[in-house]
C-alpha cells in the first residue's frame, strides 16, 4: 500500500485515495485499534482497488496485502507492542471467536 501511495499517478480515486487509506487502515490493525472491523474495511478496500482502479498499479496493489492476510493471518492478530489497548484486543478476540 505504501508503495502504491508513493507510485500512484493520481488519476483514479481507488488508487489515489485508497492507497493512502490502505496504509492508515493497516497501521490501525497493527496498533490493535478496532481490529476486526478494520480487517473488514481493509478487505472491502482491496475489492474496491482490484475491481475499481483504472490501471494495474492500483488494481494489483491488493495482491500482496491479500496474500499476507490469507497466508499469515496470525500476523494480523498479534498483540500490538505499542499503543496496546487491552480493551480493543479483547473486543476483537471476542468478536473473532464469535464468528
Amino acid at each position: 500500500m505504501e508503495f502504491c501511495a508513493e507510485e500512484s499517478c493520481g488519476k483514479c480515486t481507488p488508487c489515489r485515495i485508497g492507497s493512502v487509506r490502505g496504509v492508515e487502515v493497516i497501521d490501525k490493525i497493527i496498533a490493535g485499534h478496532n481490529r476486526s472491523q478494520n480487517l473488514v474495511v481493509l478487505d472491502d478496500l482491496c475489492d474496491l482497488m482490484t475491481d475499481g482502479s483504472l490501471c494495474a498499479m492500483g488494481g494489483l496493489t491488493p495482491m500482496p496485502v491479500r496474500s499476507a492476510m490469507k497466508h499469515f493471518p496470525e500476523d494480523f492478530q498479534k498483540l500490538p507492542t505499542e499503543n496496546f489497548s487491552i480493551l480493543d484486543a479483547t473486543e476483537s478476540l471476542a468478536t473473532e471467536a464469535g464468528r
Binding site: C9, K11, T13, D44
Partner: protein, 280 residues
C-alpha cells in the same frame, strides 16, 4: 440560486450512421456506434452515477463511480469510457456495483470538508447527490487520516475563489480549459495523493492573463465568446457572468455552454457566497 437542471448524458454524442443494438438492464437500446455505455444508458432513461464525466467533455474515466458489469466481460469497466458493442448485455445495478460505488464515495468523503450545511453548494452539489445515490451512510476510515482539509484557498481571481480542500481532482476544469477553451492553462500538478489543480507552474490564478484577463476595476468585464458554443459569453472564459450576475454580483457558469462543472471550485456552487463582486 439554483441553476436550471439540464440533462447530462455523460459523454458527447457519437456521430455515426451505424446503429448498434444492445441491452441495458434487460431493456433493448439502439444508439449510434461509438456511443459510450453511459450515454446509451442515459438516453434509455437509466442514470449511472458519475462525477468526472459530463457531456461537454470527452470521457476521462477517473472517478470510477460509473462502473458497470457486462455479461461475458471481465471485471467492472467504467461505463463512460466503454463504447457500446452489438449484443452487449450491460448491468448497471448489482449488489457488487453498489458496494464498489459506495466504496468510491467513502474514499472521496474521507478527504472532504464536512461543512455541507454552510457550503454554498449545499443542495446543488453533484458530490452530495452522488453520496445520496450510492447510499453512503458512514465513512469507516474516519476523518483523522491524511487529507487536504487545510489546503489554502486561492483568492487571487476577482470572480471566484479556488477552495482546494473541496476539489476532488476530477480534472473537469483542466479538460474544459484544454478541450473547450483551447487555453491549456490549467493542469494537475503533482501525482498521487498530492495531485492538485494548478494554473501554470503553481502561479496564482489571477496572474495568468490568458485565462483570467485582468479587468480594470473601473470597467465592466468584456464578454468573451466560447469557441465551442458561440452563444456563451464567459467573463473569465470558464466562468460565465450572466446579465443578472452583473447586477447581483456573482459569476455563474453555464454547464452546456461552458464545460466548467456545476459544482467544482471553478464555478458558482463551490464558490458562491465567496464569489466576488464583478468589477463594474
Amino acid at each position: 440560486m439554483t441553476l436550471i437542471k439540464e440533462p447530462d448524458y455523460g459523454t458527447p454524442a457519437a456521430d455515426s450512421e451505424q446503429i448498434v443494438e444492445l441491452q441495458i438492464d434487460g431493456q433493448p437500446v439502439k444508439v449510434p456506434a461509438g456511443t459510450s455505455v453511459m450515454r446509451a444508458a442515459a438516453l434509455a432513461g437509466f442514470s449511472i452515477p458519475k462525477l468526472c464525466a459530463t457531456d461537454s467533455l470527452e470521457a476521462f474515466g477517473s472517478c470510477r463511480l460509473c462502473l458497470v458489469e457486462i455479461e461475458g466481460g471481465r471485471g467492472t469497466p467504467a461505463s463512460c469510457t466503454t463504447p457500446v458493442a452489438a449484443g452487449m448485455k450491460v448491468k448497471t445495478q448489482t449488489p457488487k456495483l453498489e458496494k464498489l460505488r459506495r466504496g468510491v464515495m467513502e474514499l472521496y468523503i474521507s478527504d472532504h470538508p464536512l461543512d455541507c450545511l454552510t457550503c454554498p453548494a449545499n443542495g446543488d452539489c453533484e458530490l452530495q447527490d452522488m453520496a445520496g445515490v450510492v447510499g453512503l451512510r458512514e465513512v469507516r476510515y474516519g476523518f483523522d487520516g491524511e487529507n487536504h482539509l487545510d489546503a489554502p484557498t486561492d483568492s487571487s481571481n476577482p470572480y471566484f475563489d479556488f477552495d482546494e480542500s473541496k476539489c476532488i481532482a476530477c480534472s473537469r476544469c483542466v479538460r474544459a480549459c484544454s478541450e473547450v477553451q483551447g487555453t491549456f492553462a490549467l493542469t494537475i500538478a503533482g501525482r498521487g495523493f498530492d495531485s492538485k489543480v494548478s494554473a501554470s507552474a503553481g502561479e496564482l490564478f489571477f496572474s495568468i492573463p490568458s485565462v483570467f484577463p485582468a479587468v480594470p476595476a473601473s470597467r465592466p468585464a468584456r464578454p468573451r465568446r466560447c469557441r465551442k458554443n458561440r452563444s456563451s459569453t464567459s467573463v473569465c472564459r470558464l466562468v460565465r457572468s450572466s446579465p443578472l450576475a452583473r447586477t447581483v454580483a456573482s459569476a455563474v457558469p453555464s454547464r452546456p455552454k461552458c464545460a466548467a462543472t456545476s459544482w467544482c471550485a471553478w464555478c458558482r456552487t463551490r464558490t458562491a457566497g465567496r464569489t466576488k463582486a464583478i468589477p463594474a
